[in-house]
């Protein structure tokens, strides 16, 4: 497809922006703590799907935007996202072969690792008391993976992104 070499950028950008919106969407009451990291999920999907085009640096930049968006220390999410992106790209050939439930397990491990990094960095800044939902959101993120995978695959096929 010579005409849509760059068209993936549009779909990629749009999905990331929607995920950013979902990430900061205020939910009623305690549900806020369980809102999974949509941006990271979308980022993992695209780095599994088109690893030749989505790189670690890209994950780093998205992470930087998230840092600004959510008021974290600059570079915190950038580090987490680039590390997660790196592993997704490194293992993409193996992960792609797995059925979706098994992929979810990989996602769970990635999210848990990302969350551990965040936990570590936040604790270095001192004095944060975490709600137990902090860990639960990785579990919910993994549960959301089939949905995200399905939706984004649909978008990918619609956009004929290879």
């Amino acid at each position: 497809m010579p005409n849509n070499n760059q068209s993936y950028l549009v779909y990629y950008g749009l999905t990331i922006i929607i995920a950013m919106g979902l990430k900061i969407l205020p939910l009623p009451g305690a549900a806020n703590a369980f809102n999974p990291d949509w941006v990271l999920l979308v980022l993992i999907f695209w780095s599994l799907a088109i690893p030749e085009r989505i790189g670690v640096l890209n994950g780093w930049f998205i992470g930087l935007l998230i840092d600004v968006l959510t008021g974290r220390m600059l570079g915190q999410n950038a580090l987490v996202y680039s590390v997660t992106c790196y592993f997704s790209i490194k293992f993409h050939k193996r992960i792609r072969q797995y059925p979706t439930p098994q992929q979810s397990i990989f996602i769970f491990v990635s999210l848990l690792f990302a969350q551990l990094l965040i936990f570590w960095i936040e604790n270095m800044q001192g004095g944060n008391r975490f709600h137990w939902g902090f860990w639960l959101q990785t579990f919910i993120g993994a549960l959301c993976w089939p949905l995200i995978s399905f939706l984004l695959s649909f978008i990918r096929i619609q956009g004929r992104i290879v």
Partner: protein
């Protein structure tokens, strides 16, 4: 990691400001549904409802005006008395009305975003109030928005005093939106449920005398040095959408009754 280390020195604020311009539209977009609901809520008022509200507001306004009349004379008296004590008098000089953006940053922190930033001259460490009491303080400003830490954030502490007897202490956020802890008062402290806590003005961030919270639980812990005291914030932290950002560290109000020499003395004493 190098970035994380570098940020210790706050040298990356320019990058943050630049990137914030990129992501600000997302915040506005997310906030949009809540704003629209609010808009329809206000436009869908019927005429009779408006009339009733107008009536109520007029009565309220009258009451407030009469209270203000008394307040003015009280304030004058206060200034005179303070002049006798050779004490300076501070006033919150200027306020800026800011509106909340309905976004959620990190679930384990009580930080909200408002739609006024650097462009309006907002600085960090400025106190933020609403119609009922102290809400929090500005922790970071970006060109179009600023982040406000609520007094209930686990990392936030505010110096307060009991309005009834002037007992000073520190109120620390609990991480719950309707709860403040007062962990540094002994078991025999003169404080009881129903006491109003006002800001004491120590520390210089918050202006003195604004309501902060009401004590609602006082549990003596016989085997511990400090009592377990809980308070409920006065400000409607989870409900108000309009916040006031206050410039409190303005120059002291000149005392009209005092001559120039005494006034400079007062200024010196204040510094």
């Amino acid at each position: 990691m190098f970035l994380a280390a570098e940020h210790r020195g706050d040298s990356l604020n320019n990058i943050r400001s630049a990137l914030s311009v990129l992501v600000y539209p997302i915040q506005v977009a997310v906030s949009f549904p809540a704003d629209t609901v609010e808009y329809f809520h206000t436009t869908a008022f019927t005429n009779s409802q408006l009339k009733a509200e107008n009536e109520r507001l007029k009565v309220e306004q009258l009451e407030n005006k009469t209270k203000l009349l008394k307040l003015e004379s009280l304030e004058k008296e206060n200034i005179r008395l303070r002049a006798l004590l050779e004490n300076s008098f501070k006033l919150g000089a200027q306020v800026l009305n800011a509106e909340l953006l309905a976004v959620n940053l990190a679930p384990y922190e009580h930080i909200v975003v408002v739609n006024k930033g650097n462009r309006f001259g907002v600085n960090s460490h400025q106190p933020v109030l609403d119609g009922h009491g102290i809400v929090g303080q500005v922790v970071r400003t970006l060109p179009f928005s600023s982040e406000i830490m609520l007094i209930t954030d686990p990392n936030h502490a505010i110096p307060v005093q009991v309005n009834r007897n002037g007992l000073r202490t520190i109120a620390i956020g609990s991480g719950r939106i309707n709860r403040l802890n007062l962990p540094f008062l002994p078991n025999n402290a003169d404080i009881k449920p129903g006491d109003l806590l006002v800001s004491s003005g120590l520390g210089g961030t918050f202006p003195q005398g604004y309501p902060v919270a009401v004590v609602d639980e006082f549990i003596v812990q016989p085997n511990k040095p400090f009592a377990d005291i809980k308070a409920t914030p006065k400000a409607k932290l989870d409900r108000s959408r309009e916040l006031l950002i206050v410039w409190s560290n303005e120059t002291p109000v000149p005392l009209t009754e005092v001559d120039m020499g005494a006034q400079t003395e007062i200024n010196d004493a204040e510094q």
